[in-house]
Amino acid sequence: MAELLRLRGLVKRFGGLAATDGVDWSVAQGEVHALIGPNGAGKTTLVHLISGASSPDAGEVHFAGSDVTRASMHARVRRGLVRSYQVTSIFRRLSALDNAMLAVQAGRGSSLRFWSPPQADAGIARDARALLARVGLDERADVAAGTLAHGEQRKLEVALALAVRPTLLLLDEPMAGMGPEESQRMIELIQRLAQEVTIVLVEHDMDAVFKLAHRISVLVSGRIIASGEPEEIRRDAQVRRAYLGEELGRAA
């Protein structure tokens, strides 16, 4: 499989603490690659570095064959590297449809157009509705996003990331705060998405991770301590000691 994302010697320090401590890592085209690790392991910091929300003190980020270490977040999005947020970040006061339309519009060239309303461009509204249907929110198009149920908001969060046709989707804890039933539906959604895009899944829900991931990497104290197929990770003694032990036993 071709390599889509490659991190080389990535370092990010906050004061004396190296939240990312020399990470070398790669994600192959077409896989679902889970990134797990205990709280405070530096998962979100790594997501920030990959997405461009913050820049590293050392090291490189390569995406689809080019160096994007210094590229801004919006420039990375244009190349197909798109993230979702752990804490839901949607347009709370706008309808679900307007949320989707804004995201769809972003993938359709410059918005330095001052004259015609985008509603006149039937394609934007059509794609936005299709996007909502894809995540199962088509019935809720006219509801203000902030009044949607938590699980629906998480779906909208994913929909916004999907709108710009990513080649790599960074999902930062998509199951955060979900009940078992909602989680199950989110797992099904991610399974469907995985047919089309490469996914990096940062998740605490081990059940979901082992259902979805082709490969799993374990981050502890800012370092990748293990990387491999789910069965290898399950057996890895170092991983068990460092982190998984009990939770893994439960999932298995």
């Binding site: 804004l102 330095l112 001052f114 015609s116 203000a144 916004l160 990331a161 710009v164």
Partner: protein
């Protein structure tokens, strides 16, 4: 809690307003109150400038406390050019728009790297810097301001020293500006701007270069305020540093808040109400600002989103009842 991104310019509202504005000077001639034409010109100019500020504050979420800088820049460009013998409106007014736009580009490029309270303070600081520059420019009037020997010249047949002729020229520019504004807020650009107001981080994460869009909006608003300044200096026949001072910026913000932050008509309604209040109250007392304060308080308490929402809320009540 729902907010709509489209702001249709409805002909049932716009047409009567248009007809009333066109007929206004004729009506004043009939009842022999020519002074009100002068007042109406002033209100129209401020409606344009307040609307341009509403584009930033209400649609882009950028609370600029230095919008007077661009109003003043436009005014001084016209006055200074005239002192050097350039009387043609065809040169001076576009120059005013251009200079205000460039000033907005420079100030915006720096200010827009900050957010929230810092943005408010830095825009205020830039405007105050410009204020002190013009106060100390003795060659251009300093403290006393720079008087215009006459109004700009548009065409030999069109004498702007006539208040009625001036009113119609102002009206033409304000209508054009408002129409363009109505197109803009409903365009792709307008939706992006409102998306930035709602959630800037998310806009960046779906791929919009947020800073660039904000800067473009800042320049457009600054240039529009510059046009307002060019008109206002002709109205007053004086460019004064007070036009750039912070109370002027505060007054523009008050208009926007009074009329309705983020509403199509917000700036215009705010300008009409505030300037009429000032006019009426000032005939009774020199402490007219106290009255304005009370009205502002009432609006903030009873129509927290500005006067634009009054009709909507009473309409909703009517439907419910």
């Amino acid at each position: 809690m729902g907010v709509r991104l489209d702001h249709p310019l409805r002909s049932v509202v716009a047409l009567p307003v248009l007809i009333a504005l066109i007929a206004f000077p004729l009506l004043m001639q009939v009842i022999d109150e020519p002074f009100y034409v002068v007042l109406a010109s002033r209100i129209l100019i401020f409606a344009l400038v307040a609307t341009s500020l509403n584009l930033l504050v209400g649609f882009g979420g950028m609370v600029s406390f230095g919008h007077a800088a661009f109003l003043g820049a436009g005014a001084y460009v016209v006055a200074i050019l005239m002192q050097h013998g350039v009387t043609s409106a065809w040169i001076a007014w576009p120059a005013a728009v251009a200079v205000a736009g460039v000033a907005a580009l420079l100030i915006g490029a720096i200010s827009l790297r900050t957010r929230g309270v810092y943005f408010i303070m830095i825009t205020l600081a830039f405007a105050q810097m410009m204020y002190f520059i013009f106060v100390s420019l003795k060659a251009y009037g300093g403290d006393d301001g720079l008087p215009l020997p006459s109004r700009s010249i548009v065409a030999p047949a069109l004498d702007l020293s006539s208040d009625v002729a001036f009113y119609y020229v102002v009206l033409a520019f304000v209508l054009l500006g408002f129409f363009l504004f109505a197109r803009l807020v409903n365009s792709r650009f307008g939706r992006v701007l409102q998306g930035i107001r709602e959630n800037e981080t998310r806009m960046e994460a779906v791929g919009y270069p947020v800073y660039r869009y904000k800067l473009v909006a800042f320049v457009i608003a600054g240039a529009a305020a510059g046009l307002g300044g060019a008109l206002l200096v002709n109205q007053n026949e004086l460019a004064s540093p007070a036009m750039l001072n912070w109370p002027q910026s505060g007054m523009l913000l008050t208009m926007v808040i009074l009329g309705g932050v983020g509403f199509l008509w917000g700036g215009a309604i705010g300008a009409v109400v505030l300037l009429l209040l000032e006019e009426v109250l000032a005939t009774y007392t020199i402490h007219w600002q106290l009255g304005v304060g009370l009205v502002l308080l009432a609006v903030v308490l009873f129509a927290p989103n500005g006067l634009s929402t009054l009709r909507k809320s009473t309409g909703a009540q009517a439907r419910d009842g």
